[in-house]
C-alpha cells in the first residue's frame, strides 16, 4: 500500500496511465530478483487469463490470427495471381469466377486482398518495430539518466511530435521515393516520439523502486539495469501502444498509397487498391469498397485487441 501512496505523490503524467501496477504485482516483481523466471511466467499467465475473459479482445485476436494465417498461406488461399490482368473483363461485379469482382485492370480483387494482407502486416509490424526500438531506446535513456540528455532527447521528440505524423511520412517518402521499405521507415520514424514518451514515463516510475536500487547496490552496470530490470517491467504500455500502433501504421501506409506516394504498383496494397477504384466509385463501387472493408476489419480487430490488452495488463482500470 505504501507503494501506491508513493505513486500518488508523483506528478500526474498523462502517459503514465498504464503500468503493471497493483500491490500484488509490485510484491511479485520485488521478489522477482531471486525467483524471477517462474514468477514472471505467472504474471503473463494471469494477463492471458484476464484477456481470455474479454470477449471482444478474443474476437480481435481471432481475426488477427486468421489474417496472419492468410498472409502466410496467401499462395494457397488466393484463386488467382495478384498481378494477372484481363483487360477484356475490367470492373466486373462479384461473380462465381471472381468472388469480389475484378478491378479497373481486370485483376481478381479477392486474390489481391489476400496478398494484400502480407503487405499490410509487414508494414504494420516492421514500422512498429522501428518505432518501438528507436523510441524505446531514446525513452529509456532519457528516463533513466534524466538531466541534460533527457532534455535534449525530449525536445527533439517534441519537435517531431509537432509535425503531424502523416505529414512527416509524406515528407520522408517524397524525399527518398516510394516503395515498401521507404514507406515502412517513414511510418516508423513518424511515431518514434510516442514510444519515447511512454517508455520514458514508465522508466521514471520504475527506476525509483527498491529492486533497481538493489541491483545498483550489487554493482550492476547501467546498461544491464536498463535492459534486464527496467525495460522488462515497462513492457505493458509498450505492448498496448504497439498493438494500436500496428493499426495506425497500416492506416498511414494505406493513406500514403492512396495519395500515390506509397507502395509502387502492382503491389496489392489496400490503400492503393482503394485509390485505383476511387474513379469508379459510382459505376463499380465494389472496387473501392472491398479493400476498404479489409482495412476496416483489420484495424477494428487490432484496436479491440489493444483495448483488451490494456485492460488485462492493468486491472485497476477495470474498477
Amino acid at each position: 500500500m505504501d507503494k501506491d501512496k508513493e505513486k500518488d505523490q508523483q506528478p500526474p503524467h498523462p502517459e503514465a496511465g498504464y503500468s503493471i501496477g497493483g500491490a500484488s504485482e509490485q510484491a511479485g516483481v520485488t521478489n522477482g530478483i531471486q525467483a524471477k523466471a517462474p514468477k514472471q511466467r505467472g504474471q503473463w499467465a494471469e494477463v492471458w487469463h484476464r484477456l481470455k475473459k474479454n470477449r471482444m479482445a478474443m474476437f480481435g485476436l481471432t481475426v488477427i490470427v486468421i489474417i496472419i494465417l492468410t498472409a502466410i498461406f496467401a499462395d494457397v488461399a488466393a484463386p488467382y495471381s495478384y498481378r494477372t490482368q484481363n483487360l477484356r473483363r475490367i470492373a466486373e461485379s462479384p461473380s462465381r469466377d471472381h468472388w469480389l469482382g475484378t478491378d479497373e485492370l481486370g485483376r481478381d480483387i479477392f486474390s489481391r486482398i489476400i496478398y494484400g494482407t502480407r503487405i499490410s502486416l509487414q508494414v504494420g509490424f516492421v514500422a512498429v518495430s522501428i518505432s518501438v526500438i528507436a523510441g524505446g531506446f531514446l525513452g529509456a535513456v532519457s528516463g533513466y539518466y534524466g538531466g541534460k540528455l533527457d532534455n535534449i532527447i525530449m525536445r527533439l521528440m517534441d519537435v517531431l511530435l509537432a509535425i503531424p505524423a502523416i505529414l512527416l511520412a509524406i515528407a520522408i517518402v517524397s524525399a527518398f521515393g516510394g516503395g515498401l521499405v521507404n514507406v515502412m521507415i517513414a511510418v516508423g520514424i513518424s511515431s518514434i516520439p510516442i514510444y519515447a514518451r511512454i517508455v520514458k514515463a514508465s522508466v521514471i516510475s520504475i527506476k525509483e523502486q527498491e529492486f533497481i536500487e538493489a541491483a545498483r547496490a550489487v554493482g550492476a552496470k547501467d546498461f544491464r539495469i536498463i535492459f534486464k530490470h527496467v525495460l522488462p517491467n515497462a513492457m505493458a504500455p509498450i505492448i498496448v501502444q504497439g498493438t494500436i500502433g500496428v493499426a495506425i501504421a497500416i492506416l498511414s501506409a494505406a493513406g500514403l498509397s492512396f495519395i500515390g506516394l506509397g507502395i509502387q504498383p502492382p503491389t496489392p496494397e489496400w490503400g492503393a487498391m482503394l485509390s485505383g477504384g476511387r474513379m469508379f466509385i459510382r459505376t463499380a463501387p465494389h472496387i473501392a469498397t472491398f479493400p476498404g472493408i479489409a482495412i476496416m476489419i483489420t484495424i477494428f480487430a487490432l484496436n479491440l485487441l489493444g483495448d483488451g490488452l490494456r485492460d488485462a495488463l492493468d486491472p485497476r482500470l477495470k474498477q
Binding site: L87, R88, I259, L261, P266
Partner: protein, 510 residues
C-alpha cells in the same frame, strides 16, 4: 448519452443517401435560381489573370472571357480577324495591321496601336512563359492610332495563328501600371466580361461588360468554381450546382450522357498522350529496343481500358485535328514475337530491367500498370515510379528517367506547336524534348516548316518529319484524348473549343 449519439449518427448516415436521392430527383428543365449567373466548374484554380505571367489552361479559360487577341481562333481552329480588323502581308517578315475602331478596355481607355506595341514589348521584357510564341517578332512599328506594322526577324509560318493564342491577348498600359504587382488579380481587357472578384481556391466572378464592342454578352455574370475530383464535378452538375463542367472524367461521362436533363459534348481534342524513352540512356539509345517496346505493347486495348473508350489510339505524334497531322502513318500494331526477335537482335534476348515514370494521374498510372504486365511478356521487368507533378517535370527535364508518361496539347492547332518543342534537338529538357532524342533531318525539316510561309512546303516538310519520328520511335504513341464537357440542358449556346479554352460570350441559361 452515448447511445443517443450513436443512434443519431446512424440516423443521419441512413438518411443522407435518401436525402441525396431526393435532391437528384428535383431535376427540372429550368434553372431554379439566379438564371443570369453562369456557374462554370473546372478542375483547378487559375494561377494568374495576367496573360503574360502564366500559360496554363485554367487561367486561359478565365482570361478568354476578359481579354481578346489580334486574331481570333474559332472553335474549329480557323483563324479570323479579332481585334485586328484586317492585315496585309507586305513581305514574309512584314505585316501591316489595321485595328478595329471604337474598342474600349474595361477601364474606359480606347484600344490603340500603342497598346499592341506595349503588349508585345512587355511580353519580351518580363520574359512571359508564352513569349516563345512570338519569338520571331522583332518590333512593332506604330503608324497611327489604328495602324501598325509587325516586323519579324525571320519568316515564321504560324505567326498569324499564334496571334490568336490567348497568351498574346492585348493589355492596356495604364491598367497594368495602375495595378502594379497586383495586375494578375486586377485584370483589364477588351473582352465581353470584366473582372469582379477572385477568392483563391474557391471562385472567380466576372460580370458582363456593357460597353463590349460586339454588343453585350448573353449572361449577366459568370462564376468559375474549382473542384479537383472528376466525380465531384459530375455530381455538382447533376445536382444543378453547376451549369457547365469542363473535363468530365471518362468514368462519369456515360452516366451524364444518359441523363436527359444534361447535354454532353464529346469532341476530338488536340491532346496527345505518349510514353517517351530516354534515348540518351542504354538500352533506349538502340532503335531496335524502342521499336521492340512499341511492338510489345497492345496500345489499342490499353487505350480502351485506360480511357474507357473516350480516346482514340495514336499512330503518330499529332492528333488528327492539328494542322499538318500525317494521317497515313501505319502504326506499330501488337506483335510480341517480333518484339522478342528485335530484342534478341539488340542483345537483350533475356530482357532487361527498367522503369516507367509517371505523375499521379490515374489514367497514366493505369497505362503504366498495363504496360508493366505486357512488357513482362517479352522479358522486360519494369518498376513504376509515381511522383508528384512538379518534381516529375523537374526530374524528367534533367534526364534521370528511363521511360515516362506525358501528354502535350497542341494549343495553337498548328504542327509547329505540336512538334517543335517535343522533337527538335534544341529543345532538350524543360523546353519539351524529354526524350533527348534528336535527328538532323527532323531538325532541318522542323526549322524549314517553321520559317516557311508556303503552305505546300510546310505540309510536305511536316509529313516527312512525322514519318521519320514514327520510324525512329522516340515515343510509344498512345492516344488522342477526346475532350469531354457537359452542361445542364437549360444552357444554350455552348460550343466547346478544340483547345479547351471555351468562349462563353453567347452562352446563357434558358
Amino acid at each position: 448519452m452515448k447511445k443517443l449519439l450513436v443512434f443519431s449518427l446512424l440516423a443521419v448516415l441512413l438518411a443522407s443517401p435518401l436525402a441525396a436521392r431526393g435532391a437528384a430527383e428535383q431535376v427540372t428543365d429550368e434553372k431554379p435560381a439566379n438564371k443570369g449567373t453562369l456557374e462554370v466548374v473546372m478542375g483547378a484554380d487559375a494561377r494568374s489573370l495576367d496573360p503574360q505571367r502564366t500559360n496554363d489552361q485554367p487561367s486561359a479559360r478565365v482570361m478568354k472571357q476578359i481579354y481578346e487577341t489580334l486574331m481570333h481562333q474559332t472553335e474549329d481552329l480557323e483563324i479570323q480577324p479579332g481585334l485586328a480588323e484586317s492585315y496585309e502581308v507586305v513581305s514574309p517578315t512584314e505585316f501591316l495591321f489595321t485595328l478595329k475602331r471604337g474598342v474600349k478596355f474595361h477601364n474606359g481607355e480606347e484600344l490603340t496601336s500603342h497598346d499592341v506595341k506595349y503588349t508585345f514589348e512587355r511580353m519580351r521584357e518580363i520574359n512571359a512563359p508564352a513569349a516563345f510564341l512570338v519569338a520571331a517578332l522583332d518590333r512593332v512599328e506604330v503608324i497611327d492610332d489604328y495602324n501598325f506594322k509587325m516586323v519579324l526577324n525571320f519568316p515564321f509560318g504560324p505567326f498569324i495563328a499564334h496571334l490568336g493564342h490567348p497568351a498574346t491577348a492585348i493589355i492596356n498600359r495604364k491598367a497594368v501600371e495602375a495595378a502594379g504587382e497586383d495586375y494578375g488579380r486586377n485584370p483589364v481587357g477588351t473582352g465581353p466580361f470584366k473582372f469582379v472578384e477572385w477568392r483563391s481556391g474557391d471562385a472567380i466572378v466576372l460580370e458582363r461588360y456593357d460597353g463590349y464592342h460586339k454588343g453585350p454578352a448573353m449572361s449577366e455574370r459568370i462564376r468559375f468554381r474549382f473542384i479537383a475530383e472528376d466525380t465531384n464535378r459530375a455530381i455538382a452538375l447533376e445536382t444543378g450546382e453547376a451549369d457547365i463542367i469542363y473535363d468530365v472524367g471518362p468514368n462519369d461521362f456515360g452516366g451524364l450522357a444518359a441523363n436527359d436533363a444534361l447535354t454532353t459534348y464529346q469532341t476530338v481534342g488536340l491532346t496527345t498522350f505518349y510514353m517517351g524513352f530516354n534515348a540518351e540512356k542504354k538500352p533506349f539509345d538502340d532503335l531496335r529496343v524502342r521499336r521492340a517496346i512499341n511492338l510489345a505493347l497492345d496500345v489499342e486495348l490499353a487505350t480502351e481500358v485506360a480511357f474507357q473508350g473516350y480516346a482514340s489510339a495514336a499512330k503518330g505524334p499529332l492528333a488528327p485535328t492539328v494542322m499538318f497531322a500525317n494521317q497515313d502513318l501505319p502504326g506499330y500494331g501488337y506483335d510480341p514475337d517480333e518484339a522478342k526477335r528485335l530484342l534478341a537482335e539488340a542483345g537483350y534476348a533475356n530482357g532487361f530491367t527498367t522503369s516507367i515514370w509517371t505523375n499521379d494521374n490515374p489514367i497514366r498510372i493505369r497505362y503504366a500498370e498495363i504496360f508493366q504486365e505486357q512488357l513482362a511478356q517479352v522479358g522486360i521487368t519494369t518498376r513504376i515510379e509515381i511522383m508528384e507533378f512538379a518534381p516529375y517535370l523537374d526530374r524528367t527535364a534533367q534526364g534521370e528517367h528511363d521511360m515516362f508518361m506525358l501528354g502535350w496539347v497542341a494549343v495553337t492547332g498548328d504542327a509547329d506547336y505540336g512538334l517543335y518543342s517535343l522533337f527538335h534537338s534544341s529543345q532538350f529538357g524543360d523546353a519539351g524534348n524529354r526524350t533527348f532524342w534528336g535527328n538532323d533531318e527532323v531538325d532541318r525539316l522542323l526549322d524549314l516548316a517553321k520559317e516557311s510561309p508556303d503552305f505546300a512546303e510546310r505540309e510536305a516538310a511536316y509529313a516527312r518529319a512525322q514519318e521519320i519520328i514514327f520510324e525512329e520511335a522516340p515515343w510509344v504513341f498512345l492516344a488522342f484524348r477526346d475532350d469531354l464537357n457537359a452542361t445542364r440542358a437549360w444552357v444554350q449556346g455552348f460550343v466547346p473549343h478544340s483547345a479547351g479554352h471555351h468562349g462563353l460570350y453567347g452562352v446563357y441559361n434558358k
